[in-house]
């Protein structure tokens, strides 16, 4: 990166400030040096890029990505995940601790950071295991690991079942002002299930996960957050009732944020259709009423973050009878298009959609990026907000291709992505 880059003739979209106007951005030393209507073709710069009126927004921040590194590099590596991220306009992502070995120590947090520095095209932050080996029994070295650079603590997809353990871990975490993420789930109710419980699951003859599995765990987590004073991220909630519980807790002063998987905004239970294993995810696709309630929550600013819930699984784990197939769907490359499609279909205002993938998660983690502002890192995405395309899993950059969007029509395409002012993706 030498000199100054001017991107002009763009539609600037900044959810943090509510900006939606024509203009440009001047990049210098990897930072946004200036922005607005004053940045034109005539602006002094070493490199000038004509945006042709397309949308220019902060690069996306994704709070939930799994890779297979370390331990299952056949699924995905930090490198391949970062390529998928760049292609999806995601410039920062958080890797979950569910790896082998689990990211539950200073050494592994350090490993992820160094490895990402070496191979990843985008910014990668590790989340660390709340308990050692995600065993739900012994808390990890939360204080030391936070100092080593973990952005939050989570038990990943293995919820802590013992309320005593979770309570003490949250108490301890609150001593260090640590964010604790918990995907609310009650394994006793959701174990070995394939999709959401209901008439459709019954018709397909599939074992269903009742939404109570989420509600019971969420209510417990909210109570513990209230009594311990810990900061909680209710990770990947999937029902309207969960949103209500969160709003109620917030009114009572509980420090709780929540995230929703992009697929929960886009699909409902019927999309599982003809036993599609790519649609077997945790939490499962829910009822249409839940999908609409989550979109409404996003509009009203109740949902802090939308995540890709990127979870690569190779064919040998997916090309199986649905009851035997692994959970999980890749999502880094479809996160932005899914949101843009909802905006293009007038289900969601564009800025509200973008907020949950930019300044929303940035504020949650205290990151400087995720906004168009002088002095902020020049992590940017240029996209066509309405270009129609059909998703083909073979076109995905991810090492694994298990996308529920495969074969579906989407609107909105990423054209170019910058991290610290350097181009990391450009559509050919």
């Amino acid at each position: 990166m030498t000199g100054r880059t001017a991107i002009y003739n763009a539609r600037l979209l900044d959810p943090a400030s509510g900006r939606d106007e024509k203009g440009g951005i001047l990049i210098e030393n990897g930072l946004i040096a200036d922005l607005g209507i004053g940045i034109t073709k005539a602006s002094p710069a070493d490199l000038r890029i004509d945006a042709h009126g397309k949308a220019l927004a902060p690069g996306l921040i994704d709070l939930r990505v799994k890779t297979g590194e370390p331990g299952a590099e056949n699924k995905e590596t930090l490198e391949t995940a970062s390529e998928a991220a760049a292609a999806g306009g995601v410039t920062t992502f958080v890797v979950m601790p569910d790896t082998d070995p689990v990211i539950d120590s200073v050494a592994l947090v350090d490993f992820i950071k160094r490895r990402a520095d070496g191979v990843a095209k985008v910014k990668v932050h590790p989340a660390a295991g709340l308990t050692i080996g995600l065993d739900g029994q012994k808390m990890s070295e939360i204080g030391l690991i936070k100092e080593a650079g973990a952005v939050f603590f989570s038990n990943g997809d293995r919820p802590v079942e013992d309320a005593g353990v979770l309570r003490r871990a949250m108490q301890y975490a609150s001593s260090f002002d640590v964010l604790v993420a918990s995907r609310p789930d009650t394994p006793a109710l959701s174990k070995n299930t394939v999709m959401t419980a209901g008439a459709f699951a019954a018709r397909l003859g599939l074992r269903g996960a009742p939404p109570e599995a989420e509600w019971i765990a969420l209510e417990r987590d909210l109570m513990l957050a209230e009594t311990t004073g810990a900061r909680l991220l209710a990770d990947c909630i999937s029902t309207g009732r969960s949103l209500k519980a969160i709003e109620r807790a917030r009114k009572a002063g509980v420090k709780v944020a929540c995230s929703v998987a992009a697929y929960s905004l886009f699909f409902n239970e019927l999309d599982v259709g003809d036993y599609l294993t790519y649609c077997k995810v945790q939490p499962p696709f829910r009822a249409e009423a839940d999908r609409l309630a989550l979109i409404d929550g996003l509009k009203r600013g109740v949902v802090d973050a939308v995540v890709s819930a990127h979870d690569p699984q190779p064919p040998e784990d997916k090309r199986l009878p649905i009851a035997e197939a692994a959970y999980g769907a890749v999502g880094l490359e479809t996160l932005l298009p899914a949101l843009l499609s909802l905006a293009a279909r007038d289900e969601l205002p564009l800025l509200a959609a973008l907020k949950a993938v930019t300044s929303g998660p940035a504020d949650l983690l205290g990151l400087p990026q995720g906004r168009l502002k002088k002095g902020a890192p020049a992590d940017l995405v240029l996209f066509d907000a309405t270009a129609p395309w059909a998703c083909d899993r073979d076109d995905l950059s991810s090492r694994s291709k298990n996308s529920p969007f495969d074969g579906r029509k989407l609107e909105g395409k990423v054209l170019r992505t910058w991290v610290n002012g350097a181009t990391v993706f450009e559509r050919g």
């Binding site: 308990t131 012994k138 939360i142 030391l144 108490q171 301890y172 001593s175 260090f176 311990t228 004073g229």
Partner: protein, 320 residues
Amino acid sequence: MAADAYAFPHRHLLGIEGLNRLDIETLLNLGDRYVDLNRQRVKHAGTLSGQTLVNLFFENSTRTQGSFEIAGRRLGADVVTMPIATSSVKKGETLVDTAMTLNAMRPDLLVIRHPSSGAVKLLSRKVDCAVINAGDGTHEHPTQALLDALTIRRRVGDIGGMRIAICGDILHSRVARSNVACLNVLGAEVRLIAPRTLTPSGAEDWGAKLFTDMREGLKGCDVVMMLRLQQERMDGAYLPSAREFFHFYGLDEEKLSHAKPTAFVMHPGPMNRGVEIESSIADHKTRSLITEQVEMGVAVRMAVLETLAKNAPEIGAKNR
């Protein structure tokens, strides 16, 4: 002397709670005098001559048990330490039956340590003699608080207005509970420093300020009291590991530098060097009061034994 004129109004010493400032100062003043006696070659006082002191320790202890034994002997009492490990308690006798049996032997003073909170109080209801709590579960350890107060008073000065931090495993510490009560009565500003897992819920109502950040908590402190951290607390339930605890809550030179430059360091022992306290601080010639605490322990226990012996109802009635 004023201290002698005040009639200590309690039959037992079960805790600091319930004692007023005059009660505590009476014991400390008498303890002060015994420090002088203990520093002489001949350390005998005949005050408890002919009386029987029974040490009943249901939990292992070296220093407290030894300290009470020495205190009793220096006052001329007959001291008997019951070997609990081999006694009928191990054979299934109930606590109350043990108390009744002992009571029938007519001791005058009974010093009890028990792993269950409230057990000493239960025993005190079943016996006729004076009972001294030498530590019950995670409830109280009053003679520790008194010896700490005496140590501070002698070495640092008037406790009123002093800022004193108690750091570490507050949750499981009877020493912390007794010390908070004692130092509050004597007018100190007490601070508790611990991660939230080791802070009892409701501690904010103890009359002490709570801190999770040790450096912040130590600011301006005159005295830093460290607590012992039990090994079994470091297995991931309350704390992730010993090294993490030491990193954030172990007393080292750097953290101590946030207290007053003249701040003194105390520890009730036994210490885990390198876990809650760095050796160079524990052994510091001018700032560590740790061995002095042990010395004060004998003196203050002599004061407690003598004061309670005087108060025993039957003996008092016969003598006067």
